[in-house]
Amino acid sequence: MELSKVVDELNLEVIAGYNDGKKEVNGAYIGDLLSLVMSKAESNNLWLTIQTHLNVIAVATLVDVSAIIVVENMEIDEDTIKKADSVKVPLLKTKLSAYELASKLAKLGV
C-alpha cells in the first residue's frame, strides 16, 4: 500500500519530510526504546512512537521505515522536524494512541 493512502484514510497530520507519499508501506512496529526499534522494525514498516527527539530520524533512516508516526499528539522538537525534511523521512502525527492507530492500520490492511 502507498503511504499517501494511509495518510488520507487515517487523517494523519503531515509534519515534515513527506514528498509525494509514494513510499511503499508494509506492516508496522510500535516502540519507544530505540535499540529495540533498531533490531525489530523492518524496512517499509510504519513506526509508531511517542519519541520525538532528533534521534528518531537516524533510527528511521538506518532501518528504512517508510514513515514515523508520532502518536498521542506528542510535541515534536524543532530540530527533529528540520532533520526529517533534510533527509526526507516522512514525519507524521496523530492524536490517537498507538493502540487506536494500530487497530485502524490493521483494518486498512497495512
Binding site: L34, S35, M38, S39, H53, L54, N55, I57, A58, V87
Partner: protein, 144 residues
C-alpha cells in the same frame, strides 16, 4: 575517506554527549555502502552495529572513534573510546542491563540492548575494556 584499489577506509570522531550529531557516522556509513551496491541485508547489519556503537560512545564514554574498512570480502569496524571503561563486561553484554540515566532513558536509550544487538549482527565480535582506560569493540561483517 581513503581508498585504494581493494579497500575503502572511513574514520569518524564521536563526541561525548553530542546528541545533535547522533547517528551521523552510522548514517554516513550506510549511505556509502548503498552507493557501493552492498546487499541490503548486510547494510542493515552494519547500520545497526555502527549505530549502537556510536550511541554507546556518545552516551557512556568521554568520546571516541569509529574506523571502518570495507573490502570486497567484509566490513571491519573498530570502535575505540577514551574511557571510563566497563567494569564487568559480561554484565554489560546481558540483554536488559543498562546504567543509562533517567535523562538518557527519556530520549529512548537504555533498553540495555545495544551491545547484544551488535553481537547479533556481527560475524566476528570482540569487546575489550579496561576500567579507567577505555573500551574497544571489534566487529566484522562478511559481505556474503
Amino acid at each position: 575517506m581513503t581508498k585504494d584499489s581493494n579497500s575503502m577506509k572511513l574514520n569518524y570522531d564521536v563526541d561525548s554527549n553530542d546528541f545533535t550529531r547522533a547517528g551521523e557516522a552510522s548514517s554516513n556509513i550506510k549511505k556509502i555502502l548503498k552507493q557501493l551496491g552492498v546487499a541490503s541485508k548486510v547494510i542493515r547489519k552494519v547500520s545497526i552495529a555502527t549505530y549502537e556503537a556510536e550511541m554507546n560512545i556518545a552516551i557512556h564514554s568521554y568520546g571516541g572513534k569509529i574506523n571502518v574498512e570495507i573490502t570486497p570480502k567484509e566490513v571491519q569496524i573498530v570502535v575505540k573510546d577514551n574511557g571510563p571503561g566497563i567494569k564487568d563486561v559480561n554484565l554489560a553484554m546481558k540483554e536488559g542491563y543498562s546504567t543509562a540515566t533517567e535523562r538518557i532513558r527519556e530520549l529512548g536509550f537504555g533498553a540495555g540492548m545495544g551491545l547484544p544487538n551488535i553481537k547479533k549482527c556481527a560475524d566476528v565480535f570482540e569487546l575489550k575494556s579496561e576500567e579507567g582506560k577505555g573500551t574497544k569493540v571489534f566487529i566484522k561483517i562478511f559481505l556474503n
